[in-house]
Every structure is written in structure tokens, then in C-alpha cells.
């Protein structure tokens, strides 16, 4: 039974994950290193897509770090009406199809949308522009950081923060000197994960970007476009960059997971020891 289960799992993993992943690299490098490099940098639109992803993802991650820390703090530290609801709502972006998220944004920020006339009057472009891409990406990856931090903050508890305040620390001093060092590994883990999701985001971005080559195409959109144009080496070359990112993320994540887990265990031990 055990052997059968393990074998089944390995088989499924192999067929669905390992073989395709290896194939991406194989296809991308089929023409040799020189061709691979040219596929990545020779095409201006491809270059721009890489550049755009490198702009949009960090912005979305930054927004989510601020939001994630604030939300995790509110949920882990305070009891307020609507707390359970808020906790549930944080997960909403994971439950909703990204395409729907994109449509939401168009309905709000599009020219015919709710804020459309106001935005046009002030000459602000959201949809089919970088702000739209950042918004869509941030919305979809919205729960990642908060989800990582809530258990960490709950395990650590508020005692040290209260102690800091009693010693005369202002809010920011307390956060930077006590809270942040305590949650740093969990936060870093959240950032890595959020970044991976942000770079790979397709559905919501596809809707709000308008998919204008050389202007609003991010890497995932570019891969699809090259693929549609039957430019297989080009598509696989860009895909391989995304895939490498995934592998790196996975490695860092495993390392950090190990680190946060041992920290959490230490925190739990600490609490247990303090209370006996």
C-alpha cells in the first residue's frame, strides 16, 4: 500500500511537473546557448516584457508587504468586530478567478467604469497602463504575506511589544526594534512567495493590460503571445526564465520554511517554558 501510494505520487509529479519543467529548459536551449540568449534579448518586445515584470512585481510585492503586515497585525493583536469576516476576506483573492479580478478592476477604473470619468478628467491612466498591472497583480497576491505572518505573530505573542511600549518606545520604534526582528523570517518567506506569484500572474493582468506588445505585456503574457505566433524557441526561452525563477523561489522557500519552523518551535518552547 505504501509503495503503491508513493509510486503513484511520484508518477503524477513526474508527468505533471518534472517532465514539463525539464522540457521547458530543453526546448529553450535546443538551439544552443547563443540562440537562447538572442531569443531573450534581441526582440525589443521581449526585452520590454522582462523589464515590465521587473517593475510591476516589486511594486505589487511592496504594496502587499505594507498591507500584509498591517492586516496580520490587526488580526493577530486585536479583537474587534468584523475580525472573523476580515480574516475570511483576506483569502478572497485566492478563491476568485484572476480573470474576474481583472474585470472588477476594469469596471472600476476603466473608461466606462465607476471612477473612469474622474480619472480621465485628471489624466490618470490605470487600465492598459502600469498602475492597472500593479493593482491587478497586488490584488491577486494580496493574501500571501498576511497569511504567512498571522501564525508567526500569534505564536510570538504581544508580550514583547507591550514591554517595549512600557519602556518608552514609540510605535515605530517598537515595530522596527521588536516586531520586525521577530517576524523577519516569516516576512521574507512571504515576500519570496508573493514575488513568485506576482511575476507569474497571468489572468488578471491579461484583462487589465490590453496586451499591447512593447507596452503592457509582462513576461507571462509575452510567453503566450510568442507561443501563439509559433515562435517556440522564443516562447520557451522566456518561459525558462520564469521557470528558473520558480526553482530559485522553491529553494529559498524551503530554506526559509525550515528556518521559520525552527523559529516557531523555539517561540512555542519559549512560551511553554515561561508558563510552567
Amino acid at each position: 500500500m505504501r509503495i503503491a501510494l508513493v509510486a503513484f505520487t511520484i508518477l503524477v509529479m513526474g508527468v505533471l511537473i518534472v517532465i514539463p519543467l525539464v522540457n521547458v529548459f530543453y526546448q529553450a536551449l535546443a538551439g544552443g546557448g547563443g540562440v537562447y540568449w538572442r531569443n531573450l534579448v534581441a526582440d525589443a518586445d521581449t526585452r520590454h516584457s522582462i523589464y515590465l515584470t521587473l517593475i510591476v512585481a516589486p511594486l505589487a510585492v511592496a504594496a502587499n508587504v505594507v498591507f500584509g503586515v498591517a492586516a496580520a497585525w490587526a488580526i493577530a493583536r486585536f479583537r474587534f468586530p468584523g475580525r472573523t469576516l476580515l480574516t475570511a476576506f483576506i483569502d478572497l483573492p485566492f478563491a476568485v478567478s484572476p480573470v474576474v479580478v481583472g474585470l472588477f478592476l476594469v469596471l472600476i477604473f476603466g473608461l466606462q467604469g465607476f471612477l473612469g470619468p474622474w480619472l480621465r478628467a485628471h489624466d490618470i491612466k490605470v487600465i492598459f497602463a502600469i498602475p492597472g498591472l500593479v493593482l491587478a497583480t497586488a490584488f491577486v497576491t494580496f493574501p500571501v504575506v498576511a497569511r504567512e505572518l498571522i501564525p508567526v505573530m500569534e505564536a510570538i505573542g504581544a508580550d514583547e511589544e507591550v514591554a517595549a511600549v512600557s519602556l518608552g518606545a514609540r510605535g515605530w520604534q517598537m515595530f522596527s526594534r521588536v516586531t520586525l526582528p521577530n517576524i523577519k523570517w516569516g516576512l521574507l518567506y512571504g515576500i519570496i512567495l508573493c514575488n513568485a506569484r506576482a511575476m507569474g500572474e497571468f489572468g488578471a493582468v491579461a484583462v487589465v493590460s490590453g496586451r499591447i506588445s512593447g507596452q503592457t505585456d509582462t513576461m507571462p503574457l509575452r510567453v503566450e503571445k510568442l507561443f501563439q505566433e509559433y515562435n517556440m524557441p522564443g516562447a520557451f526561452a522566456v518561459a525558462s526564465v520564469l521557470a528558473s525563477l520558480a526553482v530559485v523561489t522553491l529553494l529559498v522557500k524551503t530554506g526559509l520554511e525550515w528556518k521559520t519552523r525552527s523559529d516557531l518551535a523555539a517561540a512555542a518552547r519559549e512560551t511553554a517554558r515561561g508558563k510552567t
Binding site: D159, V162, A163, S166, L167, G168, T271
Partner: protein, 352 residues
């Protein structure tokens, strides 16, 4: 700096944690808030610190009304029950925290922290992390951290609660000596009466959000204000009975009770501490209760004897000095007479 608490009330939902409580802590005192769990003692401490905000009433430090002031502006030293040391900081940085957030110069911080390390006798451990310290050492670091900023008042929440008996004993005496050295007005919370009586120069006994009695340890021990205090202090034998015409009839003891001379009889409860009972082999005319020795338990300084008075169905605990015990040569199963040297009788309020 004295602390004055006036008519403070605090409610948590339906639960009334503090009920119109007033308290005066004289400047330089070391005061213990003693009471069973749920009596409101920790809530009172946190309100004095500003960690909790009262629903009504005022708190004054000396003459300054700090009712609305925030914790960080009150300049109190607070020692938390589970220490709450900063786990990622060394002992040095823990103690230095309050100074760093006040932007002291590096040299002054170093000087002050070393001064405190000497005070808590942990020189040489300044680079250790809290997780590398024993419970007693952590407690001392927590205390040094609270004292670093020269607080106006020092507040300690069950400071020895998480330590084992031996370390506890040492730390108590150490805290007592420390207080004699630095004389900062201090309040600590405890549910351990021995701790309160040994360390504090003033003890406040709390129950259900109110103060039952406040005074020096001796005053409270010698003149318990009411049955709650008597019972809470423990180690007592309780006798139920009635008073009438200047006499009290309490579970076999018929004694004079000149404080109550009415004809009408009333329910009364008498408390006798274990060491205020004596055992005799013969009846000598004084009120005594016949009882059988059930169990003899030699403790460190006294011999604890447990007896049963069958006639009244009363169990008795008597603490005998070793000398008296050796004189009597008691054996389990023997029938003896138990005499109170002192009784405290509380007549119940008239109830219909």
C-alpha cells in the same frame, strides 16, 4: 513618588474586575497586592501602569494626574510575569532598550547597563541571549531592564510565579535587599501570601475587585479584618456555631464572648490558626475538644498533627513546636484534648 488610586472601576464585558477601588501607596513603599485569581490584582497593577485603561476613577503619581497619560509617557518600570524579554537581543541590548529609545549616547548607555549588570550580579553574561539564561537570571534581566530608565514606580506582575521554590526564595530576599538599596516605590502582584508577607512592607488583600484589608504584614496577620482575610491567609481551623448572652458555642468550644450580649442568638464563625491550638492529655477545666490523633506529619519547623473530633464531626489541624511534640509523645490513634489559645469570632450580619 507615591501612587494614589481613587474610585477606580473596570469591567471586562459582564465581569466587574475592579469595583470603586481606592488605594494609597506611600512613597518608597514596597507593597504587595495579594488575592486569589480573579480578584482584580493584576488589572489594578496594569491600570497603575497605564497598560489598561479604567472605566472610571483616577490614578495619581504624587500629585500628577496620569489618568489619561499613555504608558510610554508614564515612566514606569514594569516587570512582566513571563519576563517578555526581547528574544533576539542580548542581555546587554535588553537592558539598554529603554535608554536607546530615549536616544542616550553610546557611552552613557554602556555605563548605565554595566551599572545594572553589577546590580543584578550578571556581569559577564551581557552577550548571552535570553534563551541561554535560567529562569532566575531572566527575571533579574527583566528587572534590570525595567530599572534602567530610572522609573518613578516599579510594578511587578507575579514576579516569581514562574520559578522553582529555591530560586524563588533567593530572589525574594534579593528583591527585598534591592528595594532597600534603591527605594523606588514598588508594587507587586502575588497570590502567594508567604511571598507577600516576606517581601512587602505593606500588604493589600483583594477579593472580587475590592480591597478587603490593607496594612503592614503584622497588622494583617494579627488583626484580620474579616472572615475572608482570615480564611485566605489559610492554615486555620474553622468552627461554626452561635453566639448569645456573651457566650459563644462553637463546635464543642463553649467560650466567653463579651462582645455580643444580646438575648437573640446569631450565627457565628470562629477561626483558629493551627499554631494557636494546643494539645493536652488531660482536661484542665478550660474549654477543650476531645479528638483522636489521625496523622502526624513532622515538617521543618513544626509538627503538623491532624485530629478528628468525632462528637462534632470536626477535623482539626494543629501545628506543634518540636519541643511540645517531644514532651507529649503523641501517637496516631490516641485520644487527646485540643485547646484554643486564641480564637477570632466573626458574628454574621443579621439575615432573615
Amino acid at each position: 513618588m507615591s501612587i494614589t488610586v481613587k474610585d477606580v472601576s473596570k469591567r471586562f464585558g459582564e465581569f466587574l474586575a475592579l469595583d470603586q477601588l481606592s488605594l494609597e501607596v506611600p512613597s518608597g513603599a514596597l507593597l504587595a497586592l495579594l488575592g486569589p485569581s480573579g480578584s482584580g490584582k493584576t488589572t489594578l497593577l496594569r491600570i497603575i501602569a497605564g497598560l489598561e485603561i479604567q472605566d472610571s476613577g483616577t490614578v495619581l503619581y504624587q500629585d500628577e494626574d496620569v489618568t489619561g497619560a499613555r504608558v510610554r509617557d508614564r515612566n514606569v518600570g514594569f516587570v512582566f510575569q513571563h519576563y517578555a524579554l526581547f528574544r533576539h537581543m542580548s542581555v546587554f541590548e535588553n537592558i539598554a532598550f529603554g535608554l536607546r529609545v530615549r536616544h542616550w549616547s553610546r557611552a552613557r548607555v554602556k555605563e548605565r547597563v554595566h551599572e545594572l549588570l553589577r546590580l543584578i550580579q550578571l556581569e559577564g553574561l551581557e552577550h548571552s541571549l535570553p534563551s541561554q539564561l535560567s529562569g532566575g537570571q531572566r527575571q533579574r534581566v527583566a528587572l534590570a531592564r525595567a530599572l534602567a530608565v530610572q522609573p518613578k514606580v516599579l510594578l511587578l506582575d507575579e514576579p516569581f510565579g514562574a520559578l522553582d521554590a529555591k530560586v524563588r526564595q533567593e530572589l525574594r530576599q534579593w528583591l527585598r535587599r534591592l528595594h532597600e538599596e534603591i527605594h523606588v516605590t514598588s508594587v507587586f502582584v502575588t497570590h502567594d501570601q508567604e511571598e507577600a508577607f516576606e517581601v512587602a512592607d505593606r500588604v493589600v488583600i483583594m477579593n472580587q475587585g475590592r480591597i478587603e484589608q490593607a496594612g503592614t504584614p503584622q497588622e494583617i496577620f494579627e488583626q484580620p479584618a474579616n472572615p475572608f482575610v482570615m480564611d485566605f491567609l489559610g492554615n486555620v481551623n474553622v468552627f461554626h456555631g452561635r453566639v448569645q448572652d456573651g457566650r459563644a458555642d462553637l463546635g464543642g468550644f463553649n467560650v466567653e464572648y463579651p462582645e455580643y450580649t444580646e438575648r437573640e442568638s446569631r450565627a457565628a464563625t470562629a477561626f483558629v490558626r493551627s499554631h494557636e491550638l494546643d494539645i493536652q492529655r488531660v482536661r484542665n477545666g478550660r474549654p477543650a475538644l476531645q479528638a483522636n490523633v489521625v496523622h502526624i506529619n513532622p515538617a521543618r519547623t513544626v509538627v503538623k498533627v491532624r485530629l478528628h473530633a468525632e462528637e462534632f464531626g470536626v477535623w482539626l489541624n494543629v501545628d506543634l513546636g518540636w519541643e511540645r511534640y517531644n514532651e507529649l509523645q503523641l501517637r496516631a490513634g490516641e485520644s487527646v484534648f485540643v485547646l484554643p489559645r486564641r480564637m477570632r469570632v466573626f458574628v454574621q450580619d443579621y439575615q432573615i
